[in-house]
């Protein structure tokens, strides 16, 4: 019997790109392009079942085995440290995790640094390494407002082009880590559906390597 692979895709632009890669590798799914209210799409012949979830939830679906594989940003993997295999760097969705601040920001090391972020663990690990005392302000969006309203001194957030920062009179101060989309797998699925998952990972790898060369 052919085993189906459950794939958690991140909703949004990145997810569309990921789906395109999967489809080019022979894991197409016509049903996903129909306009309806269905949540789960499958193609039995290709052996895949796709579903869209919130990007920050992909790693949860994979860690808990509801999805065998998924695609998640390195930012999510660093923040939540899920117990999963990281099989491949897809080389898309490239950006960086950075510290940003107002243009006139001066880092007064006499004071506790107030850091607004969606990624408290990444921020904490980064400043722990420096031994800096920080006050983390956990926000869920529109992080850029925090330093403008002087609620925080800096922000730790994803920077893609820097346009949003520039428009708000902010600038990147320091890069924490480069980010890109990763193919992740549930550890147990990797074992029980090893043939299917290895084959999929291998064809995606070949596709990406051809694209990059």
């Amino acid at each position: 019997m052919k085993q189906m692979i459950n794939v958690a895709l991140p909703k949004g632009r990145l997810g569309e790109k990921v789906l395109a890669i999967f489809e080019s590798c022979g894991y197409d799914c016509p049903a996903i392009h129909e306009t309806n209210r269905k949540l789960i799409f499958e193609n039995v012949d290709a052996g895949v079942r796709y579903f869209w979830v919130k990007p920050s939830d992909v790693s949860i679906y994979v860690e808990r085995g509801a999805a065998d594989i998924g695609v998640a940003g390195k930012d999510i993997l660093l923040e939540y440290a899920p117990d999963v295999y990281e099989l491949y760097d897809l080389g898309i969705g490239k950006c960086r995790m950075a510290v940003a601040a107002r243009r006139d920001f001066y880092d007064n090391t006499e004071r506790t640094l107030r850091v607004a972020t969606k990624f408290p663990n990444i921020a904490k690990t980064f400043y722990d390494k420096k031994g800096r005392d920080i006050d983390i302000i956990k926000l869920n969006g529109s992080i850029e407002i925090a330093p403008i309203l002087r609620m925080s001194d800096v922000i730790v957030d994803i920077v893609e082009t820097g346009t949003t920062l520039k428009e708000n009179n902010l600038e990147p101060v320091e890069t924490i880590v480069p980010i890109s989309a990763r193919l992740i797998s549930n550890k147990v699925s990797y074992k029980f559906k090893n043939k299917e998952i290895s084959r999929l990972a291998q064809s995606i790898r070949e596709y990406c390597e051809n694209r990059d060369n």
């Binding site: 939540y80 990281e86 074992k191």
Partner: protein, 373 residues
């Protein structure tokens, strides 16, 4: 007819205990509490550093056990020639990584402490595989060897901190990142290639062991391979070598574990249900000369997999009114029970009880008026 249904946990405890007792392990019943100091000194051995603590009546700081192994090793004898073979089924208390809430986890496991030789080591791994077989047919035991991983890393000039990074990449099966890592740290071509193969390797022991041999690089890695081969031979002897795979993404903390390490998986359970390994270094840290190997099975994960799919609270819901005599009612209940049915007597059916059959008392006898099967 419904039998008394055991929960998945209860069934597993019974079958596993039997298995271990058959191999001469004796049961060890432990206290729920342990001095906190023991964990403070061996924090890295624990999976989570969150521990429930409290003061006992004379002010000593105590903990609700987050782990059983440490307590068993602490209490074991000091003569390495005297073997201690024990098994246990105990609750441990750990914080969940995601929610930071404490959870009670039922653990069944065994420890073999003493001058561990190839036989006692193989026996423990055989029992690990048999434990998985007892829980589900669709199971896998993945084995790995700390000696092989540390042996390879010994060939590099990496600092301890960098070695930890390498280990975490191996654990993620992150093959692209491990080649980048080797390049960035100027690791020798042969060693880089070996680390790359090691990270990616997965499959049945027979198919993968040759690959491992081909990347073995020094005495330490050679010794690890031959140990793995001997153990596999033993498993074949016992007819439980099916579903035994090599997977070096299983790497534990090398300051506690030194030899073989392993994890067990069951199809349908999204995390490992069995973990174990050879942990001589922990025993030495606790001031004893012995070696040790053991494993634990986490039963909380099996809840959804085993036990009955019970859909009813009772077989028969028997309604009676105030005119019913005690004798006739008792007689009616008895006749259901004798047929192996569970019965609950109620004055009024408020719809909160799920039943297979609904019966009412009529002329001194029970009459079934509704069947849900």
């Amino acid at each position: 007819m419904s039998k008394i249904s055991f929960t998945g946990e209860e069934m597993a405890v019974m079958s596993l205990s039997r298995l271990y007792a058959d191999c001469g392990f004796r049961q060890f019943k432990m206290s729920k509490f342990e001095e906190y100091d023991l964990y403070a000194k061996n924090k890295d051995f624990l999976l989570s550093s969150d521990i429930i603590t409290f003061n006992d009546t004379n002010g000593k700081l105590m903990a609700l056990k987050p782990d059983v192994t440490l307590s068993i090793v602490k209490g074991s004898g000091s003569d390495p020639m005297v073997f201690d073979k024990v098994y246990y089924s105990e609750n441990v208390y750990r914080a969940d990584k995601g929610t930071h809430q404490y959870k009670e986890i039922m653990q069944v496991g065994l420890e073999c402490i003493g001058n561990i030789d190839l036989y006692s080591e193989s026996e423990v791994i055989m029992l690990a595989k048999k434990s998985l077989n007892a829980l589900s047919e669709r199971n896998i035991l993945d084995i790995s060897h700390m000696g092989f991983v540390t042996g390879l890393l010994d060939e590099t000039k990496l600092s301890d901190k960098q070695k930890k990074i390498a280990v975490s990449l191996i654990r993620e099966k992150n093959t692209p990142a491990i080649s980048d890592f080797c390049r960035d740290n100027y690791i020798d071509e042969k060693v880089s290639q070996a680390l790359y193969v090691l990270t990616g390797i997965y499959g049945s022991f027979m198919k993968t062991v040759e690959k491992i041999k081909s990347i073995s690089i020094n005495e330490k890695t050679d010794a690890a391979v031959s140990e793995l081969e001997s153990i596999y031979g033993f498993l074949q002897e016992y007819g439980c070598a099916d579903g035994v795979n090599l997977d070096f993404s299983i790497v534990n903390d090398s300051s506690y574990y030194n030899g073989i390490v392993f994890q067990g998986f069951i199809d349908g359970v999204p995390a490992s249900v069995l973990t174990g390994g050879r942990y001589d270094k922990l025993v030495h840290k606790l001031g004893k000369k012995s070696g040790a190997i053991g494993f634990a099975v986490y039963l909380d994960l099996l809840e959804r997999l085993m036990g009955s799919d019970r859909m009813f609270d009772v077989d028969v819901l028997l309604m009676y009114d105030e005119n019913e005599s005690l004798q006739t009612l008792a007689k009616a209940v008895k006749s259901f029970s004798e047929n192996g049915k569970t019965v609950r007597c109620v004055r009024k059916n408020d719809g909160s009880i799920k039943y297979r059959q609904l019966a009412v008392m009529k002329n001194g006898e029970a009459e079934v008026i509704e069947t849900n099967d």
